[in-house]
């Protein structure tokens, strides 16, 4: 690895970070607009044309907010927690291929992914399991009962749905025979009967449904947003955070949504491949559609109770994902 390579990877990392931050900023606006539409109102429309500068205004406002550190907090962990959340969220994207390899970009030959790990899928799971620490430590370090309860609930929810999330991927891995996300995208190239794309969602529909539901639960989004059930928990694990420290948690949540959508697109919907002109735009389109699904879920569904949430994860999704694995294995053995 030469110095030039290192510069290339730093630039690529920076591009990914900037992309994810922009996606985060405009996702907040898009969500508010769309939820507004569903509720027959306009949503933010004062800052800039059609409210387009609203995310900037929000960011600047948060920047100028006082950073209140309540008495009795465990400061090192208190300040580490949001950083852990956001780092785990951002780094996951490093293994997602956004396009084909060996592309000429401004006369410079490069691959459209940052890293192609042999254990890419496991890397994603590992990062999402590290993200739990941001929440647990925030809950503990804040020295507040709402934070502690919110943190506990959130982490119990995350670990419960992590199981079915991980197990739902096993079917795809059996079809591909590889944990590398690049191999998984390449396995979905080509078509059946000349026009049906060979996407894994068509052979693994149950797995996709399990993944989608667990993904929503993993990102603490409605209808699984018990973590932020303000009627009972105030703000959950980030009750005691203000200003940019709070913004980091917020950022981590939205970036996780983008990453979960990008993974769903990569694992089940053919990644950057499309019926024609394959490339990053297809991935972007799929991510945008999945994110719209997220927002519509939030706009239409009421929040579950905590016992319903745990029952659903342990009693429905877990057995279903095991069933899916066995069915897939039988199918592969029978069909060769």
């Amino acid at each position: 690895m030469t110095a030039g390579d290192i510069v290339e990877y730093v630039v690529k990392s920076a591009i990914i970070i900037v992309f994810l931050l922009t996606a985060f900023a405009y996702m907040t606006l898009y969500e508010r607009k769309l939820v507004g539409r569903v509720q027959v109102r306009h949503g933010p429309n004062r800052v800039g044309p059609g409210g387009l500068l609203q995310p900037v205004a929000d960011g600047v406002k948060l920047l100028f907010k006082q950073a209140i550190t309540p008495r009795g907090v465990d400061f090192p962990l208190y300040i580490l927690a949001p950083a852990i959340s956001v780092v785990a969220a951002l780094v996951t994207f490093a293994v997602i291929p956004v396009g084909p390899g060996g592309v000429n970009l401004f006369g410079y030959r490069t691959d459209l992914w940052l890293a192609d790990l042999d254990v890419g899928v496991l890397f994603v799971l590992a990062m999402s399991s590290l993200g739990v620490y941001g929440i647990v430590l925030a809950g503990y370090a804040s020295n507040s009962k709402y934070s502690l309860l919110g943190g506990l609930r959130a982490s119990a929810q995350l670990i419960s749905y992590e199981l079915s999330l991980g197990l739902s991927l096993v079917g795809v891995l059996m079809l591909t025979g590889s944990l590398s996300l690049n191999d998984i995208v390449n396995g979905q190239g080509g078509t059946w009967l000349g026009f049906i794309p060979r996407w894994y969602i068509l052979v693994q529909p149950l797995a996709f449904i399990i993944y989608a539901i667990s993904g929503v639960a993993e990102t603490n989004r409605a209808p699984f947003d018990l973590v932020e059930a303000e009627q009972e928990l105030v703000g959950g694990y980030h009750t005691e955070y203000t200003g940019l420290r709070f913004a980091l948690f917020f950022m981590a949540e939205y970036i996780n949504m983008v990453t979960i959508s990008a993974l769903a697109a990569t694992l089940f919907l053919g990644g950057w491949r499309g019926p024609f002109f394959g490339g990053p735009w297809w991935l972007l389109l799929k991510i945008a559609l999945l994110l719209t699904g997220y927002v519509l879920l939030r706009a239409t569904l009421p929040r579950l109770r905590y016992d319903q949430l745990m029952h659903f994860g342990w009693r429905v999704l877990l057995p279903l994902s095991l069933l899916n694995i066995v069915i897939t294995a039988i199918g592969i053995v029978l069909l060769g």
Binding site: S13, F64, P70, V95, I159, L163, G171, E240, A329, V333
Partner: protein
């Protein structure tokens, strides 16, 4: 192969730098006017009368332990899945046996109410 991890390392360092920047940049511009009331932890607007202390339901422990066990099971499934094309029917039978044995434990936990949450 290790090169790919070097890239991940670069990414992690970049992200860490970025996170540190975000956490510290506000110091330059934001005001800081603490008052004793403001520094209290949140309690719906009334003074805190009890230090944070108490006991919580043991369900959280049970869920965490069950998670550890089933997570290990999931980990066993990954190498099996990627090697499945070579294992074939044999692989299917042994994994069904593995899952069935674990499902006995799952059924037991269910029956004893470990998966109930009220």
């Amino acid at each position: 192969m290790v090169d790919n991890y070097a890239i991940i390392l670069i990414m992690i360092l970049t992200v860490l730098g970025f996170g540190a920047l975000l956490l510290s940049i506000g110091v330059l511009v934001r005001p800081y006017k603490p008052t004793p009331r403001k520094l209290q932890s949140y309690e719906s607007g009334v003074p805190n009368i009890e230090p944070l202390k108490g006991r919580y339901t043991p369900r959280f422990y049970v869920i965490a332990i069950l998670f550890v066990i089933f997570d290990i099971e999931a980990i066993f499934l990954f190498p099996w899945a990627v090697a499945f094309d070579q294992l074939g029917l044999f692989g299917l039978v042994e994994m069904v046996l593995f899952i069935v044995i674990l499902l006995i434990g799952y059924a037991y936990a269910w029956r004893r109410g470990a998966l109930e949450w009220v």
